[in-house]
Point group: C2
Amino acid sequence: MMGAIIRMNASDDTGTPAQAPARARILDAAEVVFARHGYDAATTRRIAETAEVPVGLVNYHFGSKLGLYRAIFELRAPTVMDQRAAGLAMARSEPDPDRRIELVIKALILPMFGLRASPSGLRFGQIMSRELSDPSSDERGIFAEFFDPVARMMIGAIGECYPDWSVAEVHWAYQAMLGAMMIVMTDAGRIARLSGGVVAPEDHEIAARHIVAILAAGLRHRDRSLTKDTPAMGGKPNETGDI
Amino acid sequence: MMGAIIRMNASDDTGTPAQAPARARILDAAEVVFARHGYDAATTRRIAETAEVPVGLVNYHFGSKLGLYRAIFELRAPTVMDQRAAGLAMARSEPDPDRRIELVIKALILPMFGLRASPSGLRFGQIMSRELSDPSSDERGIFAEFFDPVARMMIGAIGECYPDWSVAEVHWAYQAMLGAMMIVMTDAGRIARLSGGVVAPEDHEIAARHIVAILAAGLRHRDRSLTKDTPAMGGKPNETGDI
DNA sequence: AAAAATCTTGAACGATTGTTCAACTGGAAT
DNA sequence: ATTCCAGTTGAACAATCGTTCAAGATTTTT
C-alpha cells in the first residue's frame, strides 16, 4: 500500500513554500516527523513521504538518520545560542543583582519562546524538549555539543548575580529555569485541556511573562536557610576543574 | 486484536525480586526498557529478554505492548496520587497562604522525588517524564486518565491559596512547578556533567529542598503587575465548565 | 485417576525498519 | 559531441518489529 509518490513538476507550485530543493524539503519534513515521534520512532520513510521525495534521497543527502537529525540542530541551534549570548551580554551591564537575574532569565527563555512564533521553530522546540528527556540522547551527544557551552554561560551568569550562592544552589536554580521553560516547549494541549481552553500555550508572549515573573521571584527570594551549607561558588563558573 | 485475558490467580504472593513469577518479571523488565527507550522505541523482544522469558509470554499476560505499558501506570500511579492527595489534605489545614503554598508544592513534588529512592521508582519517574513530553501520548490517553484528576486538585489548591489570582496565573504557576519537578525526574547525568560532579541529582532530599525553596519563593513573591489582567479564579477549580 | 484450565515455549507471520545500489536524469565542463 | 558528475529514482537487502499460534508443560478441579 502507498507505494507511489506523486511528483511535483515545475507546473505545480501551490502548497509548499515555493518549489524548494529536495535537501531543504527533507530537512523541513524531518523536523515535522522528529517533533511528532521522537528520534527512534521517526522513520526515514515517513520523512521521505512528507517531503515527497524517494526514500533513497534522504540517505544520499544526509548519510544516515542520525546525520539528518544532527543537521536539524546544526541549522537551528546557532540562532538560539547567539540570541542567548547577546542577552547575557546585555544582562552583564545591569549592576543590580535582583534586576540582572531577571535579564539572565529572559536571556534563557525569550529566544526559545520566540521560536514558537513560527511553526518550524515550534517543532524545533519540541525536538529539543524530547531530546532532553531521552536517556539515549547521550549516545547522540547532541546536547553536550550544541547546548552545554551556553548552559555553562547561563550558570556562570547566575553565579555572578549571587556570588555567595553555593555551587548546588546555582545549578539547581538553572535546572528550575530549564524545567519551567521546557514544559512550555513540550506542552501541546494539556494546559488548554486542564484550564478548559482558557489558557492558551500558543501565546508565547503571555507565557513568557508568567514564567519569567515566577522564576525571577523564585531566585530573588528563595529561602536559603536549608540549602546554603555547600561551599560558595564565588562568581566563577566551573571552578571545579572540569571543562 | 487483544484476545488474551489477564488472569489473577489465588497464588497472589508478596513481591519478590529474585525468582519472581513471570508476570511480575515482565512488568519489572518493561519498566527498565520503557524508561530507557520510550514507548515506541522499546521492543517487546528486548523486554522479554530482560525478563528472561520467551516473547510470547508478554502478549499472553498483557495482551499487547500498550496493555503492558498501561499496566505499569496502573501499578505505580495510585501510590503517587494517594500521597499527593494526602499532602493536599494536610496543606488545607494551614491557614496562612504563604505557608500553605509551600505545603502544596511539597504535596506535588515530594511523592515524586521520594520515588527516586528505589530503582524502580526512578524508572517510573523517567517513564512519566517521557510520556509528558511525547506528543503521541494523547493517543494513549494515559495522562488524561491517571494524572489529570490530581492535576486539577493541585490547580484548585493553588487557586485557594491566592483567590485573587487569574486562571492563567494559577495554571502557569502549576506548569512552572511541574516543569521544575519533571526536569529533575528526567535529568540522568547532565547536571552532574555541568557541575563537574559536584551536584548529584540522585540525592532527592537535597534536590527537593532546592526546588521547593525556589518554587515557594516564586509563587509567593511573583510580580503580578504584568499578568493579573485576566479574570480572577476565585478559589474554585474548573469554574470554566469543563470536566 | 481423569479432565480441564492455565501457563509456557519457540517457531512463524506479514509488515516495516535503515540502508544500499545499479540504473537513470539533466546540465555544465571538456 | 563527448565526458562527467551531482542529483534522482525505485527496487532490493538483511534485520527487526508486534503479534499469533499450535503444541507441550504444569497446575487445579473434578
